[in-house]
Symmetry: C2
Subunit: 153 residues, 2 copies
Amino acid sequence: MRSDFKALAAELQQTWHQTIPLSQFMQLEVAEGLAKQLTTRTQLAPNNLNLHNTMFAGAIYTQCTLTGWGLVWWLLEQAGLKGDIVLAQADIRYSAPVTDPTPLAVCRWDGDIKELAFNPKGRLSLSLEVELYSQNTVAARFSGRFVALAQGE
Amino acid sequence: MRSDFKALAAELQQTWHQTIPLSQFMQLEVAEGLAKQLTTRTQLAPNNLNLHNTMFAGAIYTQCTLTGWGLVWWLLEQAGLKGDIVLAQADIRYSAPVTDPTPLAVCRWDGDIKELAFNPKGRLSLSLEVELYSQNTVAARFSGRFVALAQGE
């Protein structure tokens, strides 16, 4: 079981930036990683703005979806599992404009890492919620159903 | 009532590219505009990819949300109304990987443009659905609730 969260954070960030151009353009970073919680940060300006000079709805969604995807990746690494992670469905509610120069998104999971396993069809499904903060205000709430497909299937 | 759809398309695209950096990075364009329908196009490579070399979930969402937002803008222009358009809530389902080099997203509205009006609180709410196509397959279905706030309020 991997538990060097600093090394995991560096690897996750590298994975994003090398394989998902939008993540690099958005300046997405891991702000903090605990065993079952991941926090990400972006920069509002110059790339994530909309025409109101607040955070663009698509950028908010993208930071949230990568935070959720990242936590699934994070949990699988700790569980010693290898899977291709896809997002099947998501819902997002925007409740306030984002004006924070460095918006944070937080995703937590309450399960037991030792019980993570692929089902007989080689699938693992996790429903996660992500909150995006502008200063201390929850500006958006995202929920997503992620599916990890065991590699080799 | 504005009905020069070619000029509207150019203005919408300029609005996106000048005020939403992600839209330019994603190479989002208006592919076609009819009175109550808007079709947009992006380029899969190089900027909208994920680590599976298909279209990144956040890019799919962003193309869909701007297509829906764009149609609201499109309808308001034809109705002679000025409003700030925000997205309040959205849901998206991903049903197939996107491999099309130029994915198209289509949004249609079935209402009557002549009946569009702000309510007494200066708000106009529209729920729209957007489909994103990979070749002839509907790869994602997005639904969003957009709210236009009368300018000056």
